[in-house]
């Protein structure tokens, strides 16, 4: 693999990860999550992960499968299903360490890591339980105002996972949905970022030169790319397909008593990605999922 041919297989990407790592996952709740790569982790022996995410089913599944040692989060939700039941089970069992953050503090921590700073100051968190629970410390402005602020520590990531509409083999990526969330900051906060994509092209400048503004992060931050159509399922991937609320509901139903993940995994992870997608009607059915209405 030359430095400018970043194509990898899903197994090669997971091979770049190791147990105990701090792993960032892009997307937001049930929206544009790199679920195919998450499923690849669920098929692996990786464990003791610190997961940093605006959480949806990615977090629920990794918690349910016992892959998570620590979770850094502001929420875990499936939007139309507000409470993620597998995450709730894991929390109520007391099985995982947590660092709970405000949504804005969270991206501030990613930015601190991206800028290679130890922290960034913010008022957010003052007057709440977050600082004490999270061990967040204060910092005093050195200027005449002397204001006391929370020092949001850098959320440095060993690796990050994203799902993109398009990528080329050098690691140029394009996101076409209405919102890119904080994916660029996950990438810049991570030592290595791996991207699954709906469509992999040899060269973005030949395939999609007119849409370079959809390139949200520079290729120097991308270490590996892999084409995985349907790779966000069951989360949404605008404009290609919406979330699969029927699948998410079935996934949530499996969390009800006795709530055995081993019984849910064959359907919601599967032995391979092709087997998984086939279980939900294949790409034809995925592409037919309408975009969510808010």
């Amino acid at each position: 693999m030359s430095a400018l041919d970043k194509r990898m297989s899903p197994a090669e990407i997971v091979g770049q990860l190791s147990s105990g790592m701090t792993l960032g996952i892009g997307g937001w709740g049930p929206r544009r999550k790199p679920m195919a790569l998450v499923r690849e982790i669920l098929r692996s022996d990786l464990t003791d992960l610190t997961v940093v995410a605006y959480g949806g089913a990615d977090v629920g599944m990794l918690c349910a499968a016992g892959k998570v040692k620590k979770l850094v989060f502001a929420f875990v939700s499936l939007d139309a299903i507000p409470l993620e039941p597998w995450f709730r089970k894991a929390r109520e069992a007391g099985g995982i360490e947590v660092l709970e953050l405000d949504e804005g503090m969270f991206q501030w921590g990613l930015k601190a890591a991206a800028f290679r700073l130890p922290f960034l100051p913010t008022r957010v968190g003052l007057g709440t339980d977050l600082a004490e629970l999270g061990g967040l410390r204060h910092v005093t402005s050195p200027y005449d105002d002397g204001e006391v602020l929370i020092a949001m520590p850098a959320l440095k990531l060993d690796a990050a996972l994203l799902h993109a509409n398009r990528a080329d083999q050098r690691g140029n990526i394009q996101l076409l949905g209405p919102d890119v969330y904080y994916d660029e900051w996950f990438a810049r906060a991570a030592d290595k970022t791996f991207v699954s994509t709906e469509e992999l092209v040899p060269a973005m400048e030949d395939a999609y030169p007119a849409e370079a503004q959809a390139s949200i992060v520079e290729r120097c931050f991308i270490s590996g790319v892999v084409e995985m159509p349907g790779g966000a399922h069951p989360s949404s991937m605008p404009p290609l397909y919406g979330w699969d609320m029927k699948a998410l509901k079935a996934y949530c139903d499996m969390a009800k008593d006795p709530g055995d993940w081993a019984a849910a995994a064959p359907r919601f992870v599967g032995a391979s990605e092709s087997e998984y997608l086939a279980g939900f009607g294949g790409m034809e059915a995925v592409r037919a999922l309408s975009l969510p209405i808010f």
């Binding site: 937001w28 989060f73 502001a74 929420f75 875990v76 939700s77 507000p82 409470l83 995450f87 709730r88 929390r91 109520e92 069992a93 007391g94 360490e97 947590v98 709970e100 953050l101 405000d102 949504e103 804005g104 503090m105 991206q107 501030w108 008022r123 957010v124 968190g125 003052l126 007057g127 709440t128 339980d129 977050l130 629970l133 204060h138 005093t140 002397g146 204001e147 006391v148 602020l149 209405p178 919102d179 890119v180 969330y181 904080y182 660029e184 309408s290 975009l291 969510p292 209405i293 808010f294």
Partner: protein, 268 residues
């Protein structure tokens, strides 16, 4: 829904109108209503008394015509601007250019709110909920109001909320030297009354009672002492307001918000 005379307003519609009052005269700020009643209230405010308000389609775009609730065509909304989550903290929250109306799981006498967990400990909650989401940032950066469809002591708790997810007016929680000047809790609207934080040291006051409700009933349903500052009955929405509400809620989602969808004024 053809009859829009004031006598037929439901309690939910009265609450929407009362919530809309929280946004009156706010100017060019993003009005965010989370949940059917707050969202309809923001839309009602924008389409009637406060057209300067900004709002999103609930996803990523700014719209000048509030987006109706429930199923509709994805492309039915007309986009005037872009305000994705990727810009939300820079542009709306941390800049103070927003007023959010939300429904926490608990609220206490200081206006501290909880959306994270109830019971047990943070390490092992008895009931895990959403997580703090954006409440810590919202409450220290911009105005906030609240709507509760079922006023009870389980929501309006005695003592403090189980986890302080949003900052209130509790002096014991304030680190010396911190800047709390933007903490601005405006209104609480419930199925019983309208309240504000206008008492001594921002104590919660009841400022209007919905038709047929007494102050004693509100106090009974609240886990902490309230101040009686009632100036009258909460205003019923007029026919024009009811028509706007019906237009923004063509599937009548508002009928599902308050148990049994009672009328605002009982016929008996």
């Amino acid at each position: 829904m053809s009859d829009v005379s004031t006598n037929t307003a439901t309690l939910a519609e009265l609450c929407i109108a009362a919530c809309a009052e929280a946004f009156r005269g706010n100017g060019e700020v993003v009005a965010t209503g989370v949940g059917p009643v707050p969202r309809l209230a923001a839309g009602l405010a924008k389409l009637t008394h406060t057209p300067e308000l900004m709002m999103t389609d609930g996803e990523a775009y700014l719209v000048e015509q509030p987006v109706p609730l429930g199923p509709r065509s994805y492309d039915a909304r007309k986009t005037a601007g872009h305000l994705p989550f990727s810009r939300f903290f820079d542009a709306a929250v941390w800049s103070g250019r927003r007023h959010a109306m939300v429904t926490p799981t608990q609220i206490d006498r200081f206006g501290q709110i909880n959306l994270s967990y109830m019971g047990g400990t943070h390490a092992q909650p008895r009931t895990q909920m959403l997580g703090v989401r954006g409440f810590p940032g919202n409450t220290i950066c911009h105005p906030n109001s609240f709507f509760f469809p079922a006023h009870s002591p389980r929501i309006f708790v005695a003592g403090e909320v189980d986890m302080v997810s949003g900052v209130g007016y509790n002096p014991a929680r304030r680190v010396a030297g911190g800047n709390y000047s933007d903490v601005d809790l405006r209104r609480i609207v419930t199925n019983l009354c309208v309240m504000d934080f206008g008492g001594p040291d921002h104590a919660v006051r009841v400022i209007s009672l919905h038709p047929g409700v007494t102050f004693a009933e509100v106090q009974e349903a609240t886990g902490f002492a309230l101040i009686d500052a009632v100036t009258g009955e909460t205003a019923l929405p007029d026919a024009a307001a009811l028509a706007v509400i019906a237009g923004l809620d063509p599937h009548n989602v508002r009928a599902t918000v308050i148990k049994d969808n009672p009328p605002a004024r009982n016929a008996s």
